[in-house]
Symmetry: C2
Subunit: 160 residues, 2 copies
DNA sequence: CTAATACCTGAATAATTTAGTCGACTATAC
DNA sequence: GTATAGTCGACTAAATTATTCAGGTATTAG
């Protein structure tokens, strides 16, 4: 699981779409203008989102894109996975010779963190983002945090 | 907050360091060989980690790197922030003209998700990663269990 | 039917980031 | 003094990200 500016564009565009689809299909031209993302880049991203059945297209005048499922059925993980395709199988993709004990151990630890990240992003839906009662959002993240043992929780900073 | 292969290299290297530092300073050459990361790339990464006071260096023969703080005082967010520097201030970095109502709203929603991501990564320390229940042993026993019971585990892909 | 709209596709390319390489230098242990 | 190992800077190759261009196709309006 990677989290890059590309995924950020996709999530931002999807939030825009989710917010506006009530009035019918949303055009990429509109998203492009509102979110300042180049139209062709959006076309590439939405091509992938469509092929992953996250959005559906309506062609012709008055057309555009709409969500293919309910808002709470679309997670941030779905969006990022659709757009980042290459799914980056870890270095030693399962069967590569992990001769060194320690090498394999580190590898396991990393993939485990990766898995947790994925679970977290899969727990946040488009619905959560758009209908964000702030208390709810915090409660959700705390619930996730509680599943971790012995971790530090004091440093805030959040300059992400 | 970005999560790229660069951050992955840094986290992997830090896990390796954390596991081995009990025997004294750990050399980059060793990490390079074990984790298959080019030495010079590690030098770049550890230069940043050192300048962020996450690791400390010991020069000369027998030297290497050690953690600058206790394992549970170093979070994944710390590591990634140190290595990914540019801290990617969101498009409209606070004071850019957010004339369109909707534009600003989407922006807020995005930064909120970003913040939660950061909080999550800040809740996972190096200690958590290194001292987690041995995935390997568990995986092995589960595999045996499956053969005995003939049960089917839907392997949930997670190929993040 | 025609024209306008908007999705769809692929290719070329610029910009940026990632990753690796090289060469010279500094501190320290022995 | 010599070998070890970090430190620094600059250069380069490869990959990814983002944009632009140049065509298409499906659908609606008139």
């Amino acid at each position: 699981m990677r989290l890059t500016t590309k995924g950020r564009f996709a999530v931002t565009a999807m939030i825009d779409l989710a917010q506006r689809q009530a009035n019918g299909p949303v055009t990429l031209a509109g998203i492009s203008e509102r979110q300042k993302i180049s139209l062709s880049y959006l076309e590439q991203l939405f091509g992938k989102l469509r092929r992953h059945s996250i959005v559906a297209s309506v062609r012709g005048p008055g057309g555009g894109y709409r969500l293919a499922r309910a808002m709470n059925e679309v997670t941030v993980a779905d969006i990022i996975a659709a757009v980042d395709e290459p799914l980056d199988a870890t270095n030693c993709g399962g069967r590569e010779n992990c001769q060194d004990e320690h090498r394999c151990m580190t590898h396991d630890l990393w993939t485990n963190l990766n898995k947790r990240m994925h679970e977290y992003l899969a727990s946040v839906s488009l619905y959560d983002l758009v209908n964000q009662p702030k208390a709810k959002a915090i409660a959700a993240s705390v619930a996730i945090d509680d599943r971790l043992r012995g971790s530090r929780r004091d440093n805030a900073v959040v300059s992400a």
